[in-house]
């Protein structure tokens, strides 16, 4: 292994399905090579959650509640380059479908009206406060690079990370992004 310092990376998981993180794990054996170049710090797949100062921050998911926003802003402060991983982070995607409905009605359906629920009430203690509307991350912070897809497949993630590690901005076209 070379003495070149590893690039420090943190990843966070906001309002999303974890599919983007799973797609990252789909790098499979390429993970072994990748972890020679990068040091994974805070991440849902590691035990460190205090986000340290890092070179690269990777975000999955949209901003759905106040804690999502707090985490996003913390990561932005701590990283040099912020990457939006996947459509939820970039556009709001499926979580933002709830924007068509009034939040109180969404909550009432979930906790009061559902047919199997008995004497339900909307949770309101300890749990974070939901935002009225789900928003993509660039409405809150500056985003330096995007990896589109729901999820982007592992090849797209590999391409973007290797380009960024080489100091280049990834370019997306029909050869490396798919929407099927």
């Amino acid at each position: 292994m070379s003495d070149k310092p590893k690039v420090k990376v943190a990843t966070v998981w906001l309002g999303g399905c974890s599919g983007c993180h799973m797609s990252f794990l789909d790098l499979d054996e390429r993970l072994i090579d990748l972890f020679k170049l990068i040091e994974l710090t805070a991440s849902p797949i590691s035990d460190l959650k205090e986000i340290p100062a890092v070179d690269v921050g990777i975000v999955e998911g949209a901003v759905c509640n106040d804690e999502n926003e707090h985490v996003l802003r913390t990561l932005r402060k701590q990283c040099q380059v912020l990457i939006a991983l996947g459509d939820c982070a970039i556009t709001g995607n499926v979580p933002a479908l709830r924007n068509q409905k009034v939040l109180t009605e969404v909550l009432d359906r979930g906790y009061v009206e559902t047919e199997s629920t008995h004497a339900g009430e909307v949770p309101n203690e300890v749990v974070p406060t939901l935002c009225q509307k789900v928003r993509p991350i660039q409405e809150f912070v500056k985003v330096d690079a995007h990896i589109p897809g729901c999820p982007p497949d592992a090849d797209a993630i590999w391409y973007a990370l290797t380009e960024l590690l080489a100091g280049r901005q990834p370019k997306w076209d029909a050869t490396n992004v798919r929407y099927d």
């Binding site: 399905c17 499979d28 072994i32 205090e50 986000i51 509640n65 707090h70 709830r98 300890v126 999820p151």
Partner: protein, 477 residues
Amino acid sequence: MTDTNPNIITINPVTRIEGHAKITIHLDEAGNVCDTRFHVVEFRGFEKFCEGRFFAEMPQITARICGICPVSHLLASAKTCDAILGVDIPRPAKLLRELMHMGQLAQSHALSFFHLSAPDLLLGWDSDPAARNVVGLIQQHPEIARKGIRLRKFGQDVIKTVGGRKIHPDFPVPGGVNRALTAHDRDAMRAGLPEAMEYAKFALDLLTKYQDTHRVETETFAAFDSNYMGLVQPDGALEHYDGKLRFTDLNGNTIEDQLDPASYIDVIGESTEPWSYLKFPFIKEQGYPDGMYRVGPLARLNIADKISTPQAQQAFNDWRSARNCIRTSSFHYHWARLIEIIYALERIEQLLDDPDITSTDIIVITEPKNAEGVGVIEAPRGTLFHHYWVDEYGRIEKANLIVATGHNNLAMNQAVRSIADQYVKAKELREGMLNRVEAAIRCYDPCLSCSTHAVGQMPMEVALVDATGQVIQTLRK
């Protein structure tokens, strides 16, 4: 600590950072544990925003509930749509759906064991948290990590080969599936089976050795009595794609058997608590919260009479040597998961050998016939229900979902309680508790993404607050 109740210890794993789950431990006047709460703090509202969508869109939308087990939602949703169409789908379509499901079972369980839990078992509970993850595993046990990665990859490749992509494939559709399997692709999957089986057995060996050398710890780890629920075949064998519901009690006695999943609502109710976004299902007859039941790998093996494939059955014989054939330790979820990987791989082989697997008779095209449909499946983490009501145009009027991790909500709270009882003594927090609480939750492999979001490997912050509201001790890792 923001909690106003002075007798609450908060384990604040993810609030400030990840924000997806946290734990509080409540003390009585004497300083003894009187309650524990596992809070789930994410909510996305699928049951509301699906209203008005065309029913055939539901598999693709609901897949986005969870990226770890999207195939479960795809299949439960497609089965619900089949019920709305009022069709029995062609046999080849069923086989292909089950094939994809078995690929998912293998990959999801491999992820849980190798990527998330093995670091604890192989690197040690008290090893450096900075390295106690899959990266540390890669660095310290590269061969084991590689096997885990390859095993998960095999399952993901089955999903991709059958459905076109690894995560959120567009494959199960109302009335069947939308692509047939070629003989070439079938043979490619078959070629990968021996290696995958080798690694699955390697994992089971590894775990069995650990259990042999840590017998007391693993047999008593968050062990408690509960009811169990899952699908079984007509002869009582383990089942994941189809089958009927069976409920058993703490002694393994059957409460309900061969129950049509469409009548789930007669048997299961859900309660809510103000402090969690995850609802609390319970067996109605026993009431809330007494009607606690567990689902998932441990429950499936506890309710099943047998396994229909030989190598998994052999592994299952050891499982059944327990009292009443019931395993109560939360730790044994890991064991059950590995037995199920062997089953999934054997089942994949059977499915690939079936001459119908390459048939092109894969879909029935028809109009919606019924105003209501229920679809159920055994997701990797347990029974998953989708239930939709549609109008005359096939638009969703209402949707009700009960996800696997939800069923285990009461049990996960109970698991935390039993660890707290053991490790919180004399108003003092012990270091070991942090790891143990985390590990107890992780046994359930909670897919909080499904209900909400993931715990992953949680950070912990525990504050001990005395009766006057003063923080007297804080532990963090």
